[in-house]
Each structure stands twice: as structure tokens, then as C-alpha cells.
Symmetry: C2
Subunit: 202 residues, 2 copies
């Protein structure tokens, strides 16, 4: 579809470069922005550049922050010797929204995926190893990685890397979701759920 | 979900203010932008403000252009006495992509929708009437409006407004889509298709 203005064309190209946004949606959004006051579009654009310029990874856990350590790492009430390893910031936010976890995090920035050309060197893996090397021996590393081939590969890789350190390494449990019928759970989940059954305390 | 940075929060709020984009998607897009080079985010933002500042409606038909008349209105090969009335620029682009229509357009900028508080005064309706008043008597106005209640209301309103001018007023035909089975067409479409049947020329 040829657009009647080079400026619209450029904006649509930019919007469509975002993951999951096709050209049709991009055009719809561009036309929407054209109906807004210029000041609002200016504010929109400024918020994106301000974010990109002002936000950096926490120097310890790679959570988002605006310089130095993130709010979680800086919180003296959080247990620095309990480190939950997650793929990205959205997983950290999901766990944080539970308001039950009082440890800290380590954001890998992805998972190992040879298919996508992502190796351990592309992630904050060595960083985690270095960090745990100086941790007390009763420290715990919790793998909270996706249940995909890539997630499992990453967990196994980290396990091997961390293996010689005297740490407690755990992983979040897999199983039938709370509120789900057994008959609707997929086979792999049900099998895992049975295999990793836990003592029942009534 | 509380975000770990006010700057990310602000950007997510802005992205989520776009129609059809929820906060979850907005966060995904914000995190994607954070992984890009600052120069690319700068270029992204600049393309939006440049579009908003540089693009205006064609002074005759309200198609997008960068000042004065749009490329279609300026094209001497297009028939200015054939005016296709559309709801918005995307409909114009859809017709243009056929490469068969050689007339011009009039973009209303919406359809009459009392439910959404959109009346004729919010659209380029009077503009169309003024424009057609000075057109030759053999001019044609083609309604290419949506097949919704609002589209039909708008067409009827325009018909009444243009009625005293000696114009040919037509509307694009409604019916079973090309390539569709009759059994899969909805009842209203099939009924319309039968009612507005046309001579068959073999």
C-alpha cells in the first residue's frame, strides 16, 4: 500500500519495526497520532527517548533502574543470599506482583537458544557465576526459567556452571495449574506433576 | 504491575494510550525499545514528531499530504467531477490500491455516530456540500461508506444534504463477496445481494 506522504511512510515503517506490529496496525496507530495535538505527540516521543536515555540495567541484577542499583537490590529488607534467576524483567515483575518473595533477582536477559544464535556469552551468565562465587555457602539460587527447551537448556547450563560452588540450587515447581482440571492439563505437565509429587500434609 | 522505573512507567503509559494496545503489550514494546541503540530510539521518536508536524489534510479532500493539495487532487489525470466519499484515509488507500478508480475523493474523517457523540459538525460534511455546490451538474458523488448503522446513517444524511444539487449520487454495491459461498454469507448480505440484483450479460 503506497502512502500519500513520505513522513507518514517513515513513521509507519518505524512503528511496524516493533515486534508483533504489522504495517496495517502501524498505519492505524500513525493515523491515530495524526489526530492528536502536536504537543501530545511530542510528549509521546519524548517519553520514549527519555526512557532509553535514562534507564539502565541494575549493576548487580540487571533489573531496570535509573542508575546504580535497582530498588530491590537497594532494599535492606531483601535477602541478598536468595537469588531468583529469571529470563527477563517481565518475569521479575510477575513474581514481584505476588508480594511474597523477599529475596533478590538475577535477570539473564534471555535464554540460551542456539536456533536464534543466543549463547551464554550473550546473557548475564558469567555475571551470575561471579556474583554467587562471593556469596555465603548457604545461599540459594532459584531457577524461575520458562518451561521451554531453551529454558531447560539454560537451567542445566547454569546448574553445571554453579555446580562447584556450595549453593542450594532449586527450581520453581512444574505441574497442573491451580484451578485446572487434570483432564485438561497437557500430558507433559501431568507427567511432571506426578513425578515431582510432594508429601501431603492434609 | 508496579514498574521499577518512573521513566519506563511514563513510556508504558504513553504506549498504552494508543488504541488497541494494552499495558502488557506496551511493556513488551518498551522493553524492546530499551534493548535498541539510543540512536534508533531517537530516530523512532523523531519520525513520529516529524509526521505530526509535517503532515496535514489536503485542503480539498482531506487526504493526507504535506501542504496544499494532496497528490491525487493535484493529478490533472484524475476526474475532479467524480468524488468518492470515504470514512477515513485507510479506505481511500484501499480503493487506490485497486488502481482502477480515476476520480477524486472526499475523506469525511469519521461517520455520524450519536452513541460516540460524533455529529455532522465533527466531520467534513459541510465541506463536501460546499465543494459539490460549485461542481458541474453531471458530477457524481460515490458513497463508499462502511456497511454499519453509522455508515448508513451518514450516507442518508449526506444524501439529504446533497439532494437539492443536480448530482448523480451512487453507492458502492453490497453483496456476497467474490469467491464466497452463498451458504456462508450472512443473511443481511445475502438478502441485500438478491434485492439489488443486476442484469446478467453472460
Amino acid at each position: 500500500m503506497e502512502l500519500p506522504s513520505k513522513l507518514v511512510e517513515a513513521a509507519v515503517d518505524q512503528i511496524a519495526s516493533l515486534p508483533g506490529i504489522g504495517r496495517r496496525t502501524a498505519l492505524r496507530l500513525a493515523l491515530h497520532l495524526l489526530r492528536r495535538d502536536p504537543e501530545r505527540v511530542e510528549a509521546f516521543a519524548r517519553s520514549l527517548t527519555a526512557m532509553r536515555e535514562g534507564v539502565r540495567g541494575c549493576s548487580r541484577c540487571h533489573n531496570l533502574c535509573e542508575g546504580g542499583l535497582c530498588a530491590i537490590c537497594e532494599d535492606p529488607a531483601r535477602d541478598v543470599n536468595q537469588v531468583c534467576v529469571v529470563e527477563d524483567v517481565r518475569d521479575l515483575l510477575a513474581i514481584e506482583s505476588l508480594r511474597t518473595y523477599r529475596g533478590t533477582y538475577h535477570v539473564l536477559g534471555g535464554v540460551i537458544s542456539p536456533m536464534d544464535g543466543v549463547g551464554p556469552a550473550d546473557l548475564y551468565v558469567q555475571d551470575l557465576v561471579d556474583r554467587m562465587r562471593s556469596a555465603p555457602t548457604d545461599s540459594e539460587v532459584i531457577f524461575a526459567l520458562p518451561t521451554t527447551m531453551e529454558g531447560e537448556t539454560t537451567a542445566f547450563y547454569l546448574y553445571r556452571k554453579l555446580g562447584d560452588l556450595a549453593l542450594r540450587i532449586t527450581a520453581i515447581s512444574r505441574g497442573v495449574a491451580v484451578g485446572d482440571d487434570l483432564q485438561h492439563a497437557d500430558e507433559a505437565t501431568l507427567a511432571q506433576s506426578l513425578k515431582t509429587r510432594v508429601p501431603y500434609h492434609g
